[in-house]
């Protein structure tokens, strides 16, 4: 029997309800269509103030400590962020500042973002991708960006978004499965 893949979505929304969370939900649902997964959602807004008031990993509250551990042990990370002032919010970065430097090495990461208009689409490649390059993570070539026009509230309407997520999922799942199975073989 195959072990479910541990999928952890870090969602950078600072309000609820959230378009970014809706996007993360859709990515997780799509991954779940073709693989057994255990999904965990980490919404940055839920970790306040334990995260914002802490500069050191040793001082974080239990919720933040659990969230950091979940990311570090994930088989697939979904990094989903809203665009604030042309980039991810500072608190999203602050969360990843506390993640162990090598914990994400080779971990498949799906980059996703939501913004007010298509003019921010390069946030995926100009902000998120360099962050995960630092972690030496295995970022999926296909990133997913949505602008306000792709939604009705938090319902995603643009059919092309669904296709793009399908593509990202098809690229990432075989890699994640292979890495997870390899890691589970006793040395």
């Amino acid at each position: 029997m195959t072990t479910p893949l541990k999928v952890v979505a870090v969602v950078g929304n600072l309000q609820k309800p959230s378009k970014t969370r809706a996007l993360a939900d859709l990515i997780v649902d799509t991954l779940g269509d073709s693989e057994q997964i255990d999904a965990t959602f980490i919404e940055i807004v839920d970790l306040l103030p334990g995260l914002a008031g802490t500069l050191d990993r040793d001082q974080v509250d239990t919720a933040t400590a659990d969230a950091l551990a979940a990311v570090e042990n994930a088989d697939i990370v979904i990094a989903a962020s809203p665009v604030f002032r042309g980039s991810y919010p500072g608190l999203f970065k602050h969360f990843f500042d506390l993640v162990d430097q090598y914990a994400l090495a080779n971990t498949p990461v799906i980059l996703a973002a939501t913004g007010g208009s298509d003019r921010h689409a390069l946030v995926l490649d100009h902000a998120l991708r360099p962050l995960f390059a630092f972690f030496q993570a295995w970022t999926a070539p296909v990133g997913i960006y949505l602008s306000a026009g792709d939604f009705d509230g938090t319902t995603i309407l643009n059919p092309e978004v669904f296709e793009r997520i399908e593509m990202a999922a098809r690229d990432v799942l075989p890699v994640a499965r292979m890495l997870a199975d390899r890691a589970s073989v006793p040395a």
Partner: protein
């Protein structure tokens, strides 16, 4: 003019997702004629067939199909949806549609577009690099053909006409609509020429198209046309059944198969997941997908936004079986159309 409801079809030949069997093009064409017959009987306003030039489509010459429908029907308007004018000869297009118009006693229409598929360009020897120029010039000729005979005309991409005798002459001016997908310049072209606009909204949120309709009416006014005389039609895929659940269950497998066949990235068909299809059926989604009440609600919500004159539903994309199609057409004509027409009439009356 009373609000109009219609359906259109491309005659796609999608293998049946349950049996894998490809439909015979002749059977499919006869099915289309039967669909038009039922649409006519239940009082729908317009039936459209669109042109494609590929093995997996049965309709390459809409006018021929419409001519068959002309004989089988009494009052429904018969439209192309669309005519790829850029890669056709306007003289021939005019002759074919004037023939349909005469056969049908004044029920023919042309919806002209630049074409979203490109197969017809090499087939008839046209250069895709002249995509826009071809359309502009041929549209100019087609519109002149409606008014003048004999005709003198000169252009760059087609031989000139000197005292050209283009017949038969229809008893009236055949309506020419401009089909627009999402290019503001195309909207402005239709506005400039004072031609009715057929706006295709084939996915996503229809609210996003409000600026196009607004642009169309403002530009038309700037060009000296009274926007009140300019019709707007909204064209979107969909399917109608006894309930929303039934509409989704009946149509999804066929839509998904047709979508896979027609929608490629990286050389592969990309599926539309069921949840994506369901999103289109929500109040804000583009598809006319649901039971009678959902279709009525969506049409009314769109009317509040667009104040348009017509909807055309691309019904049962991907070859929904004929018995289901005929039921859908019947529901649209008997349960949706009367309510929508009445509601919009009373809205119009209250606005006066």
């Amino acid at each position: 003019m009373a609000f109009e409801l219609g359906i259109y079809h491309f005659g796609e030949l999608t293998p049946d997702p349950t049996t894998g069997k490809m439909m015979n093009p002749g059977v499919h064409l006869r099915h289309l004629v039967e669909q038009a017959t039922v649409a006519d009987q239940v009082g729908l306003d317009v039936f459209g067939v669109g042109e494609h030039h590929r093995t997996d489509f049965a309709v390459s010459s809409p006018a021929v199909v419409l001519a068959a429908m002309a004989q089988a029907t009494n009052s429904i308007k018969l439209s192309s949806a669309v005519t790829v004018l850029s890669s056709d000869d306007p003289v021939r297009v005019f002759q074919q549609f004037s023939t349909v118009d005469l056969l049908s006693e004044g029920r023919a229409e042309i919806i002209a577009g630049r074409g979203s598929y490109t197969e017809s360009f090499p087939l008839f020897g046209y250069d895709l690099s002249q995509y826009n120029e071809l359309f502009a010039e041929k549209l100019d000729l087609l519109l002149k053909l409606r008014d003048e005979n004999p005709i003198n005309w000169e252009g760059n991409l087609r031989p000139s006409l000197v005292d050209g005798d283009v017949t038969p002459r229809p008893d009236r001016q055949i309506p020419v609509w401009i089909a627009v997908g999402g290019t503001p310049a195309s909207v402005v072209r239709a506005a400039k020429l004072g031609l009715p606009l057929s706006l295709a909204i084939i996915g996503g949120s229809y609210q996003q198209f409000e600026p196009f309709v607004d642009l169309y009416r403002r530009a038309a006014a700037d060009f000296g046309h009274d926007p009140k005389n300019l019709k707007v039609s909204i064209a979107s895929p969909g399917f109608v059944d006894t309930s929303k659940q039934a509409a989704l269950d009946t149509s999804y497998p066929y839509f998904q198969a047709g979508w896979m066949q027609n929608h490629h990235q990286r050389g592969n068909g990309v599926p539309m997941p069921r949840r994506a299809y369901e999103a289109q059926a929500t109040t804000a989604g583009a598809f006319f997908l649901g039971g009678p009440q959902e279709i009525i609600d969506k049409t009314m919500a769109q009317y509040e936004l667009f104040h348009h004159d017509r909807i055309m539903i691309q019904m049962g994309f991907g070859n929904v079986p004929q018995k289901d199609m005929l039921r859908a057409i019947e529901i649209l004509g008997t349960e949706v159309a009367p309510v929508v027409r009445k509601e919009i009439e009373s809205l119009k009356a209250s606005e006066k």
